[in-house]
Symmetry: C2
DNA sequence: TCTAACCTTTAAGTTAGGTTTATGGTACGC
DNA sequence: GCGTACCATAAACCTAACTTAAAGGTTAGA
């Protein structure tokens, strides 16, 4: 189909960028892409630039931007918008650092718990702890 | 209300454990808690054990368990289930480590991008890169 | 010409962990 | 007896990024 125009159907595009056709329709609904034209039968037809745009989108996602951020980036002019890009990246960095702190704390808490769980001989010390230090603590003596 | 039975209404419990009443109803729907009884008018009435159970739930969440995991933990007997607890914790650790790896990679990618963005003098190098190295690269020469 | 593999649309479902809204009954102090 | 604060239910809504379903039209190949 459309061999001579160089245009591709949604499925062909989907295959090229390794994304589901439904995702492409979703991106269109969200205003991230737009087919060059429609065939007589209503099929979406994309040109090669759509591939680049989609790779841009996926690259943006890969480095952690939300689709909304990417939509903003797509509207930017390379010449005029470094400030905006920097602000976006800085925001993402702050979020990421916060997540890292939380995850690391979480990791060490869980790791401690695992250690206690492994050492506990009569009854699970972790469950016991969670169920409240405030109780009978039969796990400690007899 | 219920002063002599030692039972508390949902709002009192909510206040004690610092959680919204709607959350408690949600937990009940999800099978995580159950009121001791209902008042004649249909009000949920909880005893003090509910407070402990809720603190268990929040403690579990705080160390990164999903409500489903916590539900499983609640059904466990302290005496018989260390293996299960260990498996749960180990799974969580694997997930957390994977997330940490991703986040760290992401962080350094974004940080590099930020550096390039700051250094780029004519046009945003980051947007240019995302828009495809494969192109005219007018950002490099002239 | 048949059939499989495309494509179209609108609408609803998925994930987690709740919150909000609408509508109406209850409890308590004054 | 009233006002205010509390409680009940069912259902819808929230975020993010999609996926799936239902119902049907199109195209390519043998
Ligand atoms: Zn254990
Ligand atoms: Zn820049
Ligand atoms: Zn849910
Ligand atoms: Zn059909």
């Amino acid at each position: 189909m459309a061999k001579h125009t160089g245009l591709m159907t949604i499925g062909q595009v989907a295959q090229q960028v390794e994304v589901a056709s439904s995702t492409l329709r979703f991106y269109e609904r969200e205003g991230l892409i737009r087919p060059t034209k429609r065939s007589k039968a209503g099929y979406r037809l994309f040109d090669r630039e759509a591939l680049e745009q989609l790779r841009f989108i996926r690259a943006g996602q890969a480095i952690g931007f939300a689709l909304n951020d990417i939509k903003a980036l797509l509207l930017l002019d390379e010449e005029t918008s470094c400030k905006r890009v920097q602000r976006l990246i800085e925001q993402r960095l702050v979020e990421i650092d916060a997540k890292l702190v939380n995850l690391k704390r979480l990791r060490s808490t869980l790791n401690d718990a695992l250690g206690r769980c492994r050492k506990s001989k009569r009854g699970c010390a972790v469950v016991a702890d969670l169920k409240g230090m405030s109780k009978k603590r039969k796990t400690l003596y007899s």
